[in-house]
């Protein structure tokens, strides 16, 4: 019955705490201080209610109150331009370099089958039917055709390329969940098709228009698919060999790297889709200009990934500490701004 008094005294505090929590973003500094002391009091009320063996509805209520406010207080800071910039200046390229081995493996998994496909079809043109799906083979004559398109048509193509290529990259990545085998398969398959098609187009005497067509967007597009595959391999290898941490922990770390890389992949494919729809097929752009553009795009993307963000971060917490899920290591973030 002591508890009845405790309840009567504390209920007002709890209601006040809930009211503050509902508009956490707009509290002034005085209210914020009161909010924090009320939250501390609620946590100690919970501990006390539990040790005193208070009424179960009181304990349950305090439990959900503390849980909900803990979630609001210990959250990651919301979107700020600073954090957004830092993602691109440091976090993304650093993650890329951390996954260097996977990127190299994925590159080889695409390039080696491409070379093999090229050599095989070069030796025996009939083999193209083994490597490439029939709808690709039928279109060989039309590859690299240049046509005058209207803006509406070009937007339609942009949209199609975005939808198609991003979906392919998603599948290349997520199929890595099968111990990495899916990503492995998708990379090899795409590489083999690419090499075989190059050889077949050469035999049809259309090398120059074909290469001109794919040169502007092809580099960044293939690189994006390689990165999606690398992200899948990152997850797959964490499943097979978690290293010194638990498998669950290794998976979460791999997931964080893979998610970061996939952000980059989507952006690269957006750029590629615009170039592929508006510049690659255009008769108004000279072939050589397309080659130069392709080289420029790919080399600047590679330079960005390998060189950006090499100087250490200035500022309090590094993104890795901030984003880590372990309660022991994570720095408590300031109250969320909603």
């Amino acid at each position: 019955l002591k508890e009845t008094r405790f309840l009567r005294k504390s209920r007002a505090d709890w209601s006040r705490l809930e009211a503050f929590a509902a508009r956490l973003g707009s509290l002034d500094s005085k209210e914020l201080l009161e909010f924090i002391s009320l939250y501390r009091k609620a946590t100690s009320d919970l501990a006390r209610a539990r040790t005193l063996g208070a009424r179960s509805d009181v304990v349950d209520y305090l439990n959900q109150l503390v849980g909900r406010i803990h979630f609001q207080v210990y959250t990651t800071p919301g979107w700020s331009s600073r954090r957004f910039l830092r993602f691109f200046t440091h976090w993304l390229p650093q993650t890329f370099r951390r996954c260097k081995a996977h990127v190299i493996a994925a590159t080889l998994l695409l390039v080696l089958p491409a070379v093999a496909g090229y050599i095989a079809v070069g030796a025996d043109p009939a083999l193209i039917r083994v490597f490439a799906p029939p709808q690709f083979v039928e279109l060989i004559d039309r590859y690299g055709t240049i046509e005058q398109r209207g803006p509406g048509e070009m937007s339609a193509y942009t949209s199609f390329y975005i939808v198609n290529n991003v979906t392919v990259s998603f599948l290349t990545f997520t199929s890595g969940l099968l111990l990495g085998l899916g990503s492995f398969y998708n990379l090899v398959k795409n590489g083999a098709i690419l090499g075989a098609m190059l050889a077949a187009v050469g035999q049809a005497g259309a090398t120059r228009p074909f290469v001109s067509f794919i040169s502007a967007h092809g580099g960044i597009e293939m690189f994006a698919i390689v990165l999606a595959g690398a992200a899948g391999l990152r997850i797959g290898t964490a499943m097979i060999n978690p290293g010194e941490v638990s498998r669950a922990r290794a998976l979460v770390e791999a997931g964080r790297d893979a998610g970061t890389i996939m952000f980059g992949v989507v952006l690269m494919l957006l750029i590629a889709a615009v170039v592929e729809a508006w510049i690659s097929p255009s008769p108004n752009v000279h072939d050589v200009a397309k080659w130069i553009l392709g080289v420029l795009i790919l080399s600047s993307v590679v330079a960005y990934y390998t060189l950006a963000g090499r100087e250490p971060l200035t500022g309090s917490a590094s993104p890795s500490a901030r984003d880590s899920g372990s309660p022991g290591r994570a720095a408590p973030a300031p109250p969320a701004r909603r």
């Binding site: 019955l1 508890e3 009845t4 309840l7 209920r11 709890w14 809930e18 501390r40 946590t43 100690s44 919970l46 501990a47 063996g53 208070a54 009424r55 179960s56 509805d57 009181v58 209520y61 439990n63 959900q64 109150l65 849980g67 909900r68 803990h70 979630f71 609001q72 210990y74 959250t75 990651t76 209207g150 803006p151 509406g152 048509e153 937007s155 339609a156 193509y157 942009t158 949209s159 939808v163 991003v166 979906t167 997520t174 969940l177 997850i235 669950a248 998976l251 979460v252 997931g255 964080r256 893979a258 998610g259 970061t260 996939m262 984003d323 899920g325 372990s326 309660p327 994570a330 969320a336």
Partner: protein, 263 residues
């Protein structure tokens, strides 16, 4: 994060204030219900988009605006694709781990340790949605959820997230003892005190209090049933008649209060 003493359906989290609280993990049923609601919303939105698209195309074609109708086609394709892939990501970002379906059902995505979701964890858990939930792998998705201790989807395992109940409660009311005292029968109170009512086990008293606090909200039949179950052992031990069990319980609380006051 550790296994909670409260059972497998709860996850215990220790705050930096060194107080442990628990989240109730959302079950398979509530998560499926939320998913069904979300997919229905997606479906209806797609229908609306499609109707708008057909209307626009008809108009443009009549006006001979070939290029514009192509652009409309492009926009439509992109919109549908964004609806499929972006719906969950966008809502979980904006509503901090909730979608319309999850909000209706009262569940929320959080990260292990009780932290709010990050953009990266949202992207990962929803990218993997295709793999775990859709053809040809729904069996894998469900299998993982059954096998995992906390009903986690594959996406949750890799994103380090879990889905918990998130419903705001109203503060529990205090017992209205003053009211009970006003209408209490002094003789019955004295009988109870003479019968050494203070020897009742504290847990039992708390159960009585919980019941009296919530009695108004209970259905008539279960209210009568619980009152009888609580009052009957007391009445029998003390040899008192209990024609109205709830009334007896109210008197027990009043008698205990007076014991405390005099002590």
């Amino acid at each position: 994060v550790q296994e909670s003493p409260a059972g497998p359906d709860f996850v215990a989290i220790e705050t930096p204030e060194h107080v442990t609280f628990t989240y109730e993990i959302a079950g398979l049923m509530s998560r499926s219900l939320a998913a069904i609601i979300d997919h229905l919303i997606q479906f209806v939105a797609a229908l609306v988009l499609f109707a708008g698209f057909l209307g626009a195309m008809g108009g443009f074609a009549q006006g001979g605006l070939q290029q514009i109708s192509m652009a409309a086609y492009a926009l439509f394709g992109l919109a549908i694709w964004l609806l499929i892939w972006g719906y969950f990501v966008a809502f979980e970002l904006l509503w901090r781990g909730q979608t319309p379906g999850k909000r209706l059902v009262g569940i929320r995505v959080i990260r292990e340790g009780g932290y709010g979701v990050t953009a990266g964890s949202i992207l990962i858990r929803n990218l993997i949605r295709v793999f775990g939930d859709l053809v040809p792998f729904p069996a894998i998705g469900l299998g993982v959820m059954f096998a995992s201790a906390r009903a986690k989807r594959l996406g949750d395992l890799i994103a380090g997230t879990l889905v918990v109940r998130d419903v705001a409660w109203t503060p529990p009311p205090a017992l209205r003892i003053a009211e009970f005292q006003r209408v209490a029968d002094a003789n019955l109170v004295n009988d109870l005190r003479r019968a050494a009512i203070h020897r009742l086990k504290p847990e039992f008293v708390r159960t009585i209090e919980s019941f009296l606090v919530r009695a108004e909200e209970l259905e008539i039949a279960s209210r009568r049933d619980i009152a009888w179950r609580l009052a009957d052992p007391i009445a029998r031990t003390l040899g008192l008649p209990a024609p109205d069990p709830e009334r007896l319980l109210r008197h027990v609380v009043v008698a205990l209060r007076e014991e405390v006051k005099e002590a």
